[in-house]
Each structure stands twice: as structure tokens, then as C-alpha cells.
């Protein structure tokens, strides 16, 4: 116990607002005092072991800004500062330059540059050797000149985003007139199909987020980011939906808006992943891949308009929904391509997954409120499965 202040428990029973605050803050004060004592007097003998600290340095990103130059971005995710002493490239010591101090503090980051004559199209392995002799390595599967924020690459990323996100979503929206004329049970079928599509997308984004969380420096807790994104996104969107409920349109329109938002967030994450994979040479953007994304993401458009089948909708609203769902892809490819950060990518992939899960929930509720057999009716269940199969089939083109 801290000897600093005795507590007056008897007098606070019916106290006012200030005593309520005191009750809330008191444990925090004790915690602060304890931390102060800990830091001042260092009980540390016990905790500070005689063995050297386990250093942890993550080589977050390796860039090839020009022929003969390699740039490495490092993050110290360990408990102690790390001093960069030497660099090897492909198992050879190489001179390097580093701005500022070679010692990187906890959670700090730094960049170093190596004048290495890398060979385009071949792998490169970079290791950083610290003052204690530990090595931290990153291998690049295919070295290729990194994109710069110039006209050529900006055009590339905009086109990439357009093809992969915007165009397919708008194409999908064009099914609205068709949806309006098919019988009611078939629109239910299409809603179920949408649910299938989204479940597939959500699981896909979630696994990708978990996979990429391995690239995140451990102090930044990749899985923690995934959890925050997946759980936080639906809560925030749901909360926003509640706020807008008064005065806004019908349940179906709200559903369409939420779906567009969810898909937009998902596409932002997808854009980040595609842009960074492109930048680090992990995918060659062949026409097959672009066609695959076209097919794959057209289904997202159907998802948005499916709830609107029996609603009057202005063209402007439709364009807004399409933009909300599709345009984030362009932002994603640009950010991912020009400044890849594992932390941001994992977080946005997870937010995308959470947003999609939220949409699935909204749609399932919408479906159960309509007069029909609900999600488990034979036709609707078949729709859901058809959605999964459709995503799987179109996904065969986009596996990278």
C-alpha cells in the first residue's frame, strides 16, 4: 500500500459528483504512485535479467528506388533500444548510410540505404546485424524498381483502382432494372446470394488480415489490430446507422447504404493489399488478374442494389452508392503502392472484414422481416450457397 494518502471511506457514501469522480480516479492514482515507485527505486534487480535483452527489429519495407540503391525501413518492436551495426545483402557485407543515430529506440523507426547493385527480377535478402550480433532479415521475392509518386505510377494506380473496384461495382448496379421486374421470391434469392458473396468476402479479408499480421512488429500486436478492426467496425457502423435512423429512408435504403459503406471499407483494404503487392513485385498485373477482379467485384454491385429492388431510387443516389463502394479502391491502391505499412494494411483489411460482417447481419435481418421463408428457406439457402460458389469460381482468377 502506498503510504501517501489515507482514504476516507465512511464519508463518501452519499457524496456528490466530486466524490464520485474521486471513487473513479482513486485506483488510477494508486496505480500512478506504484509506477512512480517502480521507476524511481527500480525493484528491477528481479526483472532485469543478466542475459542480454531480446532485441526485436522488424524490416518493414524494402524499396528499390533506383538501380544500385536499396532502401530499408525498420521498426523496433522490442523492449530495448537496438543499434544497427552492419548490413549484409545476399550474404555479403555492404556499406550503408543511415540518417541520424544508428540506435533505434523502442517503437522507433529508421531508414537505411545500401548502394547495392540489385538485379531486377531476382530475389534479394537483406540482413541487419545489431551491436549484439543478432540478425534481422527480410527477403524480397522479386526485386523491381519501386513506384514513385509520378504521373506514370499515379495513372497506373488510378487505372488499377478503376478496373478492380469502381467499374465492376457500377456494372453490378446496372442490374437494378432487372431486379425490379423479377418476382419477389427471386429478389429474396438474390439477397441471399448477396449474403453468400459477403460471407465469402468477409472470411477472405479476415484470413488475409491474420496472415499479414505476421509482418507487423510484435509490439504493434497484429492480432490486436485485427480484433479492433473486425469488432470495432460493425459497432461504429451500427452506431452511425442508429443515429441516422430518425428521418432517413426505409430499412431497405439504409441497408443499401450500409452495404455500400461496408463494401467500400472492404475495397479500401483490398486496394491496399493489391497496391502493396504490386509495389513489391509480388504480383504481375496480367490481364487475367484484372479480368478476375472485374468478375469478382461485379458481384459486389448486385449486393448493393439487391435490397432496393422494390424501392424508388434516384439515379443520383445510385451513383453515390457506387462511388461509396468503389472509389476507396483507388485510394487503397495508391496508399498501398506508394507507402506500404503493414500496420495500416492489417487494420484496414480487418475493418473491411468487420464492415462486411455487419452488412451480412443487416441483410439477414432484412430478409427475415420480409414476408418469405427467411434465410433457411430452400430457395434462399440455395442462393446463399450459390453466392459462395460464385465468389469461389471468380476467385480462381485472382489468387495471388
Amino acid at each position: 500500500m502506498s503510504p501517501s494518502e489515507p482514504t476516507p471511506p465512511a464519508r463518501t457514501a452519499t457524496g456528490g459528483r466530486s466524490s464520485l469522480w474521486l471513487k473513479g480516479v482513486f485506483p488510477l492514482l494508486l496505480l500512478g504512485g506504484l509506477l512512480g515507485l517502480f521507476l524511481t527505486f527500480g525493484p528491477a534487480g528481479v526483472f532485469r535479467a543478466s542475459f542480454p535483452p531480446i532485441e526485436e527489429l522488424t524490416l518493414e519495407r524494402v524499396d528499390f528506388p533506383a538501380p544500385g540503391r536499396v532502401r530499408v525501413r525498420m521498426v523496433n518492436g522490442g523492449p530495448e533500444p537496438v543499434t544497427v551495426s552492419q548490413v549484409t545483402v545476399d550474404d555479403a557485407y555492404w556499406s550503408f548510410t543511415m540518417d541520424g543515430d544508428p540506435t533505434i529506440g523502442r517503437l522507433g523507426d529508421a531508414e537505411l540505404e545500401v548502394p547495392y547493385p540489385w538485379v531486377s527480377g531476382e530475389p534479394v535478402k537483406i540482413s541487419v546485424i545489431t551491436s549484439t550480433g543478432l540478425t534481422f532479415t527480410r527477403e524480397v521475392a522479386v526485386a523491381t524498381e519501386s513506384p514513385r509518386a509520378d504521373r506514370r505510377y499515379l495513372t497506373t494506380f488510378v487505372l488499377l483502382g478503376l478496373y478492380v473496384g469502381v467499374v465492376p461495382v457500377f456494372l453490378g448496379l446496372l442490374w437494378l432494372p432487372f431486379l425490379r421486374e423479377v418476382p419477389r421470391h427471386w429478389t429474396d434469392f438474390l439477397l441471399s446470394l448477396t449474403i453468400g458473396l459477403l460471407v465469402f468476402l468477409g472470411v477472405d479479408a479476415l484470413t488475409e488480415a491474420v496472415e499479414m499480421s505476421g509482418d507487423v512488429a510484435s509490439a504493434f500486436q497484429g492480432i490486436g489490430l485485427v480484433t479492433m478492426g473486425v469488432v470495432g467496425a460493425p459497432m461504429v457502423i451500427q452506431g452511425l446507422g442508429r443515429l441516422r435512423k430518425r428521418g432517413a429512408g426505409t430499412e431497405a435504403r439504409r441497408a443499401a447504404g450500409l452495404i455500400a459503406l461496408g463494401i467500400g471499407l472492404h475495397n479500401l483494404g483490398e486496394g491496399l493489399a493489391i497496391g502493396s503487392a504490386y509495389a513489391i513485385g509480388e504480383i504481375a498485373l496480367g490481364s487475367t488478374l484484372v479480368i478476375g477482379f472485374l468478375l469478382h467485384n461485379t458481384t459486389e454491385g448486385i449486393g448493393i442494389v439487391a435490397p432496393l429492388a422494390s424501392e424508388p431510387v434516384r439515379p443520383g443516389t445510385l451513383v453515390a452508392l457506387g462511388a461509396l463502394a468503389g472509389l476507396p479502391t483507388i485510394a487503397g491502391t495508391m496508399i498501398g503502392g506508394l507507402s506500404y505499412s503493414p500496420v495500416a494494411t492489417v487494420l484496414f483489411l480487418a475493418i473491411g472484414a468487420g464492415a462486411v460482417i455487419q452488412v451480412v447481419w443487416v441483410l439477414a435481418r432484412l430478409l427475415s422481416q420480409r414476408q418469405g421463408s427467411g434465410l433457411t428457406g430452400p430457395l434462399n439457402a440455395a442462393g446463399l450457397v450459390a453466392g459462395l460458389v460464385l465468389m469461389y469460381a471468380t476467385g480462381l482468377w485472382v489468387a495471388f
Binding site: D91, Y93, W94, F96, M98, V114, G133
Partner: protein
């Protein structure tokens, strides 16, 4: 900024090591001849003091390795004596683990430094005759061997022949070695005399026509073989230095772990000549140096 343009080549380490405790350029030409006194039978008694101590050494600029050393350096002192001398080595273990000194050569079984484990704080006296003439070796033989060797407990042991006079020469010691700084069973640093690229940063100064005799040792751990290749000339090479009539004339020799020999080189042209392992990987990880040969006489 760190590193920069101090070498022509971008390949190599950045910066330099602190040589106040151990300077490879000094070790290159240092021989410990012990303290001598005559024995009643006319022979020479040579006494050496060797202490095992734990010490952090700098094996590449800024890269520190927690070594186990003889007399504070890796390699330990290069012991030198003459064939037939009586040797007395007073060994103190001031390290944190049990150690020994195992000498290569001809000696009784209880002087072999294998079974007489010397615990921390203890001492042991090795005493035997220096036999045969040649390039021998000493190292710790406590288990686990791999750990005790790659931690740095080894040194050169040269027995000069008694009955023939060697041609006067510039004499150098080159211990090929490596360091597994992250303990993954592979060396991060390769070198001669422990410091990566040291003789590239500080080329060994020679003169045209000067005879250079190199006592060469291989104590590289983890890799079966190591080699030396010298640019710009060929050299004579005596395996283990035991048979004067039996040598190779070559520019590259290959040595197994624990193997050693004598090289004699004479450069005919001035210039900057490299010497390095002909395993490119070892060379690029530090086992590379230069002779700077000048024309003055």
C-alpha cells in the same frame, strides 16, 4: 550519417573497430616466446602464462561477440619455441566455464588437455617437449567442443626446427576463423585474425622482392573447409610445415578445420593485391584483405 565512401568498393562493412584491446595488425606479427631459462641438461625451458577469460570482442565494426579467450584475445597468443625445448604452460581458468588447453604435437597422454578439465578458478600446468618442428595448434578441448572452439579458445603454436636455419623473412600469422554472432549454427562473420575486412581497411605493407612467410591456421567452426587465395603471384606451401622437401607451388590452398601450414610468398610487382577465401561467401562476409606492395627497397 554512417558508413559512406571510405572504400572504393561499396561491398564491405561500414566504420572501423576499436583496436585498443586487440589490433589484428599487431597480432599479425606478434609471437609469444615465453620466458626462457637454461636446464641442467643444456636444453631451454620455456614458460608461458595463459589465462582463460570471458570477454566481449568486436568482430566487425559495432558488432560485439561474447567470446571465451586465452589471455583476452581471439586468437590467443601465438606461442613460439624451438624443437626440443622443454615447455611449461601455466594455465589459469578465470572464465565462467570449465576449460583445458589441448596442444597438437607429440606429448604424454596426461598432458593432452582432454581429460584434465580445469574448472573456473583452478589452474593446471602442462609440461612437455616441443615436438615435432612445424605449425601446430592449441585449443580448448572441453565439451561441448563446438561451443568452446567457436567462442574463441584457440591459438597458434609454432615449433621452429632446431637443425636448419630458415631464410630470414617477414613472418605473419593468419588464423582463419569465423563467428556465429546470433548462435544459429552459421557464421555471420568470417575473417583472418577475427576482425572482418580488417586487412582490407588496413592493408599489410610489403616490399617488392621481400620474402614473406605466413603461418596459416584454420579454426573456422561450422564450415568444413576454408581456403586462402593470393592475387598477383604464386606461393610455396608446406602442409603442417613438417617436411621441408615437400611443398606445393600454387595460389590457392584448401584447409580442413584444424589444419595448418606455412606459405612463402615473394611479390614481383608493386600494387594492391587481394588475399581472401576462395569461397566467395566467406570472402564477402569478411574474409578478405589486401597486401600493399611497394617498390622501395
Amino acid at each position: 550519417m554512417r558508413g559512406g565512401r571510405e572504400h572504393i568498393h561499396a561491398m564491405g562493412t561500414s566504420g572501423d573497430v576499436d583496436t585498443s584491446l586487440y589490433d589484428p595488425s599487431v597480432h599479425l606479427e606478434s609471437f609469444d616466446r615465453g620466458s626462457t631459462s637454461p636446464l641442467p641438461d643444456g636444453r631451454t625451458l620455456r614458460e608461458y602464462e595463459i589465462t582463460a577469460v570471458d570477454r566481449s570482442i568486436e568482430v566487425a565494426p559495432g558488432v560485439h561477440f561474447d567470446a571465451w579467450t586465452y589471455n583476452g584475445t581471439v586468437p590467443g597468443p601465438t606461442l613460439r619455441c624451438t624443437e626440443g625445448d622443454r615447455l611449461r604452460v601455466n594455465f589459469t581458468n578465470a572464465g565462467s566455464h570449465p576449460h583445458t588447453i589441448h596442444f597438437h604435437g607429440i606429448h604424454p597422454g596426461d598432458m593432452d588437455g582432454v581429460f584434465e578439465i580445469v574448472d573456473p578458478g583452478d589452474t593446471f600446468r602442462y609440461e612437455f617437449d616441443a615436438l615435432p618442428a612445424g605449425v601446430q595448434l592449441y585449443h580448448c578441448h572441453a565439451a561441448p567442443l563446438k561451443r568452446h572452439l567457436h567462442k574463441g579458445l584457440y591459438g597458434g603454436f609454432i615449433i621452429d626446427p632446431r637443425d636448419r636455419i630458415l631464410e630470414p623473412a617477414r613472418e605473419l600469422v593468419m588464423m582463419m576463423n569465423g563467428f556465429d554472432t546470433n548462435y544459429d549454427g552459421e557464421n555471420e562473420v568470417y575473417a583472418v585474425n577475427s576482425v572482418a575486412f580488417h586487412y582490407q581497411r588496413h592493408p599489410i605493407q610489403l616490399r617488392v622482392g621481400e620474402l614473406v612467410r605466413i603461418y596459416l591456421f584454420n579454426m573456422t567452426e561450422f564450415d568444413l573447409l576454408n581456403s586462402i587465395h593470393v592475387h598477383g603471384t604464386l606461393f610455396k606451401y608446406w602442409r603442417t610445415g613438417t617436411r621441408p622437401d615437400h611443398y606445393d607451388y600454387t595460389d590457392t590452398v584448401l584447409l580442413c578445420q584444424g589444419e595448418r601450414g606455412v606459405m612463402e610468398i615473394r611479390f614481383e610487382h608493386p600494387g594492391l593485391f587481394m588475399f581472401h577465401a576462395h569461397q566467395s561467401e566467406f570472402a564477402e562476409l569478411g574474409w578478405m584483405g589486401m597486401f600493399e606492395v611497394r617498390d622501395e627497397s
